[in-house]
């Protein structure tokens, strides 16, 4: 389908419909797949567990909605074919989580392909690719390749490492831990390896960002959990009572990432970069939940990842609509976005609140679990995470005050024509097209979904709790 869409890429509407239909067919196929029944293909073990199915279905649903969104939100000529390949590779990675080498290489390939979507221009565009966009694409390419190489290296070392035998007198456990932190840190935008994420949010098309943050990063997190379960925990690199230091290191990195994400979000002048740093904050929160290695923290991290996928789509769909031409020059800073585009403005504001875990949105239950896990670890952790959330909330409120809730800039021209002038001499009315109805419906649907999950999170939480019950590295509470 990706190849067909590439050939027909100039027929934008047709390609979007074909891609949407592909997603629906895949959702139907995944829903019928048997769970926990490994199959062998080309020497590889493919397996789909309940958690994998939940995430795979969500990826496909997010993909389908992102394709629909491209109907109105600007996107590159090759977005649909590249997105189809990325979704295909992400799905394959989910099925091959136990094949560490193959999964890390598939993730690396996904990163390389995403570069094509970042530098993509719309069909028949009269503009050049921006320098900053090229710089962002190059940065993403280099960092993702290095992340892939480092992860692969970590897995090779794990495959030969035996905790009880240390050839040459030196244990590679610390080297493996360092490689894991750098490799996965680069992919998940963990401080200090986060710089690509705000750049990407700033320079890439909105739906490209959705694809990378909501799908590729979520697969990376699932791969990390699977790797801890099958590779890192058995050789005592991460987890276990004897190896508390590695856990403490990951906890500290999670807290620092959340704090720094909040602080840096507060310091941004650009709307997109603020959202980018809020995503860095959330990456820190998720890493913290995972690093607690207990059932509450892990459930919180997974629930938060699932929520983030929906919220990111809502946020970037709203940003895409807010950035549509409104008759004012491009360099004018818009301060009244909520009044000009009420649905998209509400989507951005509520999406931001959901990302920070404020009730009654879907992020609340996930964040509550993360705070509970932090409290179990000790008061300082809880205080630091709450401080990070407070900083992120301040950043969001600042963004709302400066960009969304400012006074309306549409001043009715009540003055009569000047002496000697006629009505024809008046400046033309500013063109403000209404929000596309389809996109407005999509935003309302996503908002309702956020509210629905926020008010009734039990079914999703039950599925997640059931799925993580089998993980051996989880410490008893």
């Amino acid at each position: 389908m990706a190849a067909s869409c590439f050939v027909l890429r100039k027929q934008t509407r047709l390609v979007i419909l074909a891609a949407f239909a592909t997603m629906l067919v895949q959702i139907a196929l995944v829903a019928q797949l048997p769970l926990d029944q490994p199959a062998r293909l080309l020497g590889l073990t493919l397996n789909l567990d309940p958690l994998g199915r939940l995430f795979l279905l969500t990826f496909l649903a997010i993909g389908a909605l992102a394709f629909l969104a491209t109907w109105s939100v600007p996107h590159g000529e090759q977005f649909v074919p590249v997105a189809l390949v990325i979704l295909g590779l992400s799905g394959t990675t989910l099925l091959l989580l136990q094949e560490q080498y193959t999964a890390s290489l598939l993730l690396g390939s996904t990163g390389l392909l995403a570069v094509l979507a970042i530098v993509d221009l719309p069909t028949g565009s009269s503009a050049l690719v921006q320098r900053t966009t090229l710089a962002t694409a190059l940065k993403y390419l280099v960092l993702m390749l290095i992340a892939g190489v480092i992860m692969y290296m970590a897995f090779v070392l794990v495959s030969i490492y035996r905790p009880d035998v240390t050839p040459g007198g030196s244990s590679p456990a610390h080297l493996i831990l360092a490689l894991i932190v750098v490799g996965f840190g680069l992919r998940l935008a963990i401080v200090p390896f986060h710089s690509w994420l705000p750049d990407l949010v700033e320079d890439a098309a909105p739906m490209t960002t959705v694809l990378i943050v909501a799908v590729v990063n979520a697969v990376t997190l699932l791969f990390l959990i699977s790797s801890i379960q099958f590779f890192f925990y058995p050789v005592e690199v991460i987890g276990g009572v004897e190896n508390a230091r590695s856990t403490l290191l990951l906890l500290a990195i999670g807290v620092v990432t959340a704090l720094l994400g909040g602080v840096l979000a507060l310091a941004q002048a650009s709307l997109r970069r603020t959202i980018g740093y809020l995503l860095v904050y959330n990456a820190g929160m998720i890493l913290f939940g995972l690093a607690t290695l207990d059932s509450v923290g892990l459930a919180g991290a997974l629930f938060e990842t699932l929520n983030q996928m929906i919220i990111v789509l809502l946020l970037f769909l709203s940003i895409g609509l807010l950035e549509r031409p409104d008759g004012r020059p491009l360099n004018v800073v818009r301060r009244d976005l909520l009044w000009r585009r009420p649905v998209a403005g509400t989507g951005l504001l509520c999406g931001g609140l959901a990302l920070l875990g404020l009730p009654p949105f879907n992020g609340f239950a996930g964040k509550l679990l993360l705070y509970e896990a932090a409290a179990r670890r000790g008061g300082p952790y809880l205080a630091l995470l709450l401080l990070a959330t407070a900083l992120a909330l301040l950043a969001l409120l600042r963004l709302a005050r400066e960009r969304l809730l400012g006074p309306s800039e549409e001043v009715a021209d009540e003055f009569p024509p000047l002496l000697g002038g006629t009505d024809l001499d008046r400046p033309a009315d500013r063109r403000l097209e209404p929000e596309p109805r389809g996109m407005a419906v999509l935003i309302v649907f996503l908002l309702a979904l956020c509210l629905g999950i926020g008010l009734y999170p039990q079914p999703l939480l039950a599925t997640i709790n059931e799925a993580i019950r089998g993980l051996t590295f989880i410490q008893p509470l």
């Binding site: 080309l42 020497g43 590889l44 094949e99 080498y101 193959t102 290489l105 598939l106 690396g108 390939s109 390389l112 392909l113 570069v115 094509l116 530098v119 028949g124 565009s125 009269s126 503009a127 050049l128 690719v129 320098r131 090229l134 710089a135 694409a137 190059l138 390419l141 280099v142 390749l145 290095i146 892939g148 190489v149 692969y152 290296m153 090779v156 070392l157 495959s159 030969i160 050839p167 040459g168 030196s170 590679p172 080297l175």
Partner: protein, 240 residues
Amino acid sequence: MSFSDINWAVILIALSGALILLVRDWRIAVPALLVNYIGVAIFLAQQQFLQPDLHIGSVAVSTTVLVKLITGVAATAILAITALTFSREYNQEDLDEFSLAELRRAARRAQRQRAAEPLRLADYVVPFWALALAVLASVALPRIYPIGTTNTIDFVWYWLGLVGLFTTVVASDILKVGLGLLLCASSVDVLYTAISSTVQVFPLALLGLVSITLALAVAYLSGLLYGRLKTLELNELYKR
């Protein structure tokens, strides 16, 4: 030590890696990458990590090693063709007058820069010290952190990884970034083949595919960069 005791494959890998890190001219760096791939293939065949299953004349080689060599040749060819053409012309009839004017300005700036920049020794200071650091680290690390069964194996993968990383860091143009990343990929390839307890075909094939995809991605970005700025120099990309 006699002449026959010298491991020529390792010498090839070391020298070609050093050349890639040091030189700025793609006419030397890209062929050096090809020599590096040939050196790695000879090294893997010589160490017998993979059982030979193919006879070419009197030489027995492993099909996997041959596939690695072909992958390397393909990746090098992609970069060489990119370097030769250096351009992806936009459909200029689609561009507006501002974009066309910007292209003309970029072309003039690139031409001026090319004319004003003859060979400058100062450009080689950082790569030289990076090379010195890579040599020291590649000799020391196999002793501090021995991973493979012999020092030679450790030297080769550490060398490829470090030289690749340093090349990416000190690169002044996008093609050289690509060369560095390909060396990093080659490093894990050697590590996996030499050390992994069971070498699976699928990851090896995927590693080859990653190398080719990487070369294609670098070629695509090079084309876009040249089309936009009429040069592959990275400092032009970051100018405000």
